[in-house]
Point group: D2
Chain length 184, copies 4
């Protein structure tokens, strides 16, 4: 079994809730980016040892929060040494709007993975997009690049749509499986 | 009053329905890209005379349909002559999923407008993204770059969510107003 | 050894030249999109049988030419049936300018691959970006998502910078190797 | 004459050098994001009073540095109040590679401007992309969405290619002129 790590930043707890659920589904370890954008040394060691890294972050003002970007900037050391070459990558993002420019966040995450010489795993799930579809369905938002979550602006961490959480769980499992086929 | 033109391609009638509603709201002329990706000579003359051009297209497989791209490729003559320099631009897109990679279409449309030396008008509307929000609200999808429409896969042209149609109408009006301030 | 296929459209011969060089390096088969945007039945069968598909197209007006988009639209049948799920994907693009919005093309190609449930392989090469670097160096353009080629507007097919061609060759080989590890 | 402001972050001095040159050309004020990602109160007041805001940032790991993102996140207050609605926006970015995923930075900046209800001004310059073109030519990189600068990895602040600096100067002047037409 490949080693999968979810590295995430959570501003208000929603992304953490999702990251924990995804980690359970995929047998993944969690590394948290703190409020100052830092990751402890042990976290970096965990990431270095990973076969697959899943990025998790909310979308703020059209991209990841600055704390997650500070983490991304710090990965320039890995980039310089080609230390993460050929790792498997994926990403998920959460914001209050159905669209909310979440795709711009995913494009950034995909680019970051590419700079590291990575291999990106798509969502791999058909969308639920008929008139009968609901927010409880898997991939109701109809993403493809990574996993999308929409938590209404006034939703608590326990009110994240079930279909979106399940989408991230299935995706994390998929990333881990591809990593096992490639690196296991 | 500035002259605003909506140039669109519609595969199954939904985008046409939206384009017609937007044209009424904004006092805009319509130019249709046909099933072979062509625009008649009169259509090109209308576009050349426009102060503002709004692109309208569904999202198929992550971007505009090939017919709209054929139109975009044909605008290379305008690009070469800098003939559309400083025109005002906007864009809207429709697809069956709430997200459905619509943003990748908007990024392309925005890039096309930039290649033409254009000025891009954002949606300019706050999102409706609380728990109480519905698909009848203006900007319920939470776009910002342009106007987003989601018509479920089995929805007829009369079943496009009212909030999304109204969003495009308000946006087209906004583009026309900005063009009037800039070119009027 | 995995089966790798390069599917490409070439308007003036440059992309064809690059595709042929890449196919030799990677032991890949070639499928050409014709001037009307069509692929013969045999080409579709070749693509269906592929473990890895590399997209090749110039950048026209901020994305792939309409002929390549027509091919992309036709892959909606594969999408609907999830027929290309888990295939390995990559992409390269050529245009006359050093930048020339080539990245918007790659973002589209990456999105197309994601819609098909694919796994995207990054370029995986460090950039040559010091003062001493030349257009003969590998990855002098400094891409990461896929392979970038710049052929000056007045360059013949024999005048494509050697470093860019070599970059695509190395990339195609890399995509084939990842596919062999995953599917071989 | 409209009031134009350039808000920038500079890690090693190159972006500052470019920002200063652009401000001179466009008669713009400068607001610097500091090493902790903060802008002083007076800077926010300057931005609030601006008719046009030009974003300037290097590209680090596929987007703006975390310090600039911290500034962008702080503009959420303006977003919430729609305080920057209808302002004119533009952006430039610098990195060591000719491409270097600079476009992903511009797409983010354009999205940020859209979230604020802004109007984005394209570069508006034809590319210099023949065999005879050099790095001293205006728009030799061939951008369109905003202004692109490439400073080799070992270039001092005095070794930024002259053509790229002139490109940013012409662009800043253009943004100011469009703002004057719209708001003057």
């Amino acid at each position: 079994m490949a080693k999968t790590v979810i590295v995430y930043f959570s501003g208000y707890g929603h992304t953490k809730q999702i990251a924990v659920a995804a980690a359970q589904a995929a047998g993944a370890e969690l590394v948290e980016v703190d409020a100052e954008g830092n990751v402890p040394e042990a976290g970096w060691a965990t990431l270095d040892a990973a076969d697959a890294i899943i990025f998790g972050a909310p979308t703020y003002m059209g991209s990841v929060p600055w704390q997650f970007k500070k983490f991304a900037d710090a990965t320039s050391k890995k980039w310089f040494a080609r230390a993460w070459q050929d790792k498997v990558f994926g990403g998920f993002t959460n914001s209050a709007s159905l669209n909310g420019d979440k795709q711009v966040t995913l494009i950034f995450l995909q680019t970051l993975a590419s700079q590291q010489g990575g291999i990106w795993v798509s969502l791999g799930l058909a969308p639920a997009n008929t008139k009968a579809a609901t927010r409880s369905d898997v991939n109701n938002l109809g993403g493809s690049v990574g996993a999308l979550v929409q938590s209404p602006a006034d939703a608590s961490v326990d009110e994240i749509p079930a279909g979106d959480v399940e989408t991230v769980r299935l995706y994390a499992k998929r990333v881990a499986e591809i990593a096992t086929r490639l690196h296991g």
